[in-house]
């Protein structure tokens, strides 16, 4: 049916569709432009399913994160919805689970310092994009 090619003025995220490993869809469109977006999406929905917080709680955090981003006065091309999504998720996890913001920072630093070709010891089939 219709496609996003007619949406020139608003489809500023098109470049992200060239994400390295995301699977193409039959209509040429991607649900997630990089694997981490799908993981971040799934983590939020899964935690809400299990009652760590509600989707309404999440939505309220997301609105705050997007408003902060909008207030940055950056070129619109830099807007990235799932970056805001991840910020909201990190804040809710820090507020509602035993995991602190510093835990996330520390683990991220550890992963950043990994040598190439590391084995990170858990078995799953998604690509981390590095």
């Amino acid at each position: 049916m219709s496609d996003t090619s007619t949406l020139g003025p608003t489809s500023v995220d098109d470049l992200a569709l060239d994400g390295p490993t995301a699977a193409p869809r039959s209509n040429g469109e991607l649900v997630f432009s990089a694997p981490w977006e799908g993981r971040a999406f799934g983590l939020a929905v899964s935690l809400a399913d299990d009652g760590a917080f509600t989707m309404s709680d999440f939505q309220a955090e997301l609105i705050i994160a997007i408003a902060e981003w909008d207030a940055l006065d950056r070129p619109v091309e830099e807007y990235h919805y799932y970056e805001c999504w991840l910020v909201a998720l990190e804040r809710l996890v820090a507020a509602r689970t035993p995991i602190d913001a510093s835990d996330i920072d520390e683990r991220s630093s550890e992963y950043l310092d990994r040598p190439a070709g590391h084995d990170h010891g858990h078995d799953h089939d998604h690509d981390h994009g590095h």
Binding site: M1, S2, T4, T6, L7, G8, P9, T10, S11, V12, D13, D14, A16, E29, V31, F32, A34, W36, G38, R39, A40, F41, G42, L43, S46, L47, A48, D49, A52, Q59, L62, I63, I66, E68, D70, L72, V76, Y79, Y81, Y82, E83, C84, L86, V87, L89, R91, T97, I99, A101, I104, R107, S108, E110, Y111, L112, H120, H122, H126, H128, H130
Partner: protein, 200 residues
């Protein structure tokens, strides 16, 4: 707040997401297998074909049409379409004199069970602001030129109301089955940035 988007020294999102998933899994707060299944479902199974079925049913079944306008969430529930962001669905109907279009100005509220996850243009700051300020011009740029005689209503979705557009059934489709009709209905038409056209 350490997780501010204002912070330039944040690790890349892919790394932070991986760290978050590992921590949540270690604490038993997330099950990796369940997570994989959930993501695959949204990538492969939930999409605008669901909403298109609802539209085609409303076009061909007057009683369903009444139920859909009266209580969108309950009516789409008859198809089994429910789940996160499937609550509080409000159906608004296009007519010869009124065209409706949906936005979420604050984030990207969207009826996931009916349309899947929102496309990039729907989440874009330009769409979120311009469709409110200059809907006719923006719709024109998106390929939908509406006659000046048609009024436009912009509906701002939120957690309380997730709007879903019932497009007009195009002329010349009387002989089509429900399935054939559903195949004509695009996601864009159900958000209100396009109309449904009869097959050429």
């Amino acid at each position: 707040m350490t997780a501010s988007p204002l912070r330039a020294d944040r690790a890349p999102a892919a790394i932070r997401t991986e760290a978050l998933e590992a921590l949540l899994t270690e604490k038993g707060l997330v099950n990796a297998g369940g997570l994989d299944g959930l993501i695959k479902r949204f990538v492969n199974d939930v999409g605008p074909m669901n909403g298109a079925k609802v539209v085609a049913k409303a076009w061909t079944d007057p009683e369903f049409y009444e139920r859909l306008l009266a209580d969108g969430t309950a009516a789409v529930g008859e198809f089994g379409f429910s789940g996160p962001q499937g609550e509080h669905i409000v159906v608004v109907e296009n007519s010869d004199t009124m065209h409706n279009v949906v936005v979420c100005t604050l984030c990207s509220c969207y009826p996931w069970p009916l349309l899947g996850l929102p496309p990039d243009w729907y989440k874009d700051p330009a769409y979120r602001s311009r469709v409110v300020r200059e809907p006719r011009k923006l719709l024109g740029e998106m390929g939908l030129d509406l006659d000046e005689s048609i009024d436009i209503t912009v509906w701002d979705s939120s957690a309380e109301n997730r709007y879903f557009i019932l497009p007009q059934r195009p002329a010349g489709t009387d002989g089509l089955s429900e399935d054939e009709l559903a195949a004509l209905v695009s996601r864009e038409a159900m958000v209100g940035v396009a109309q449904v056209r009869a097959p050429a």
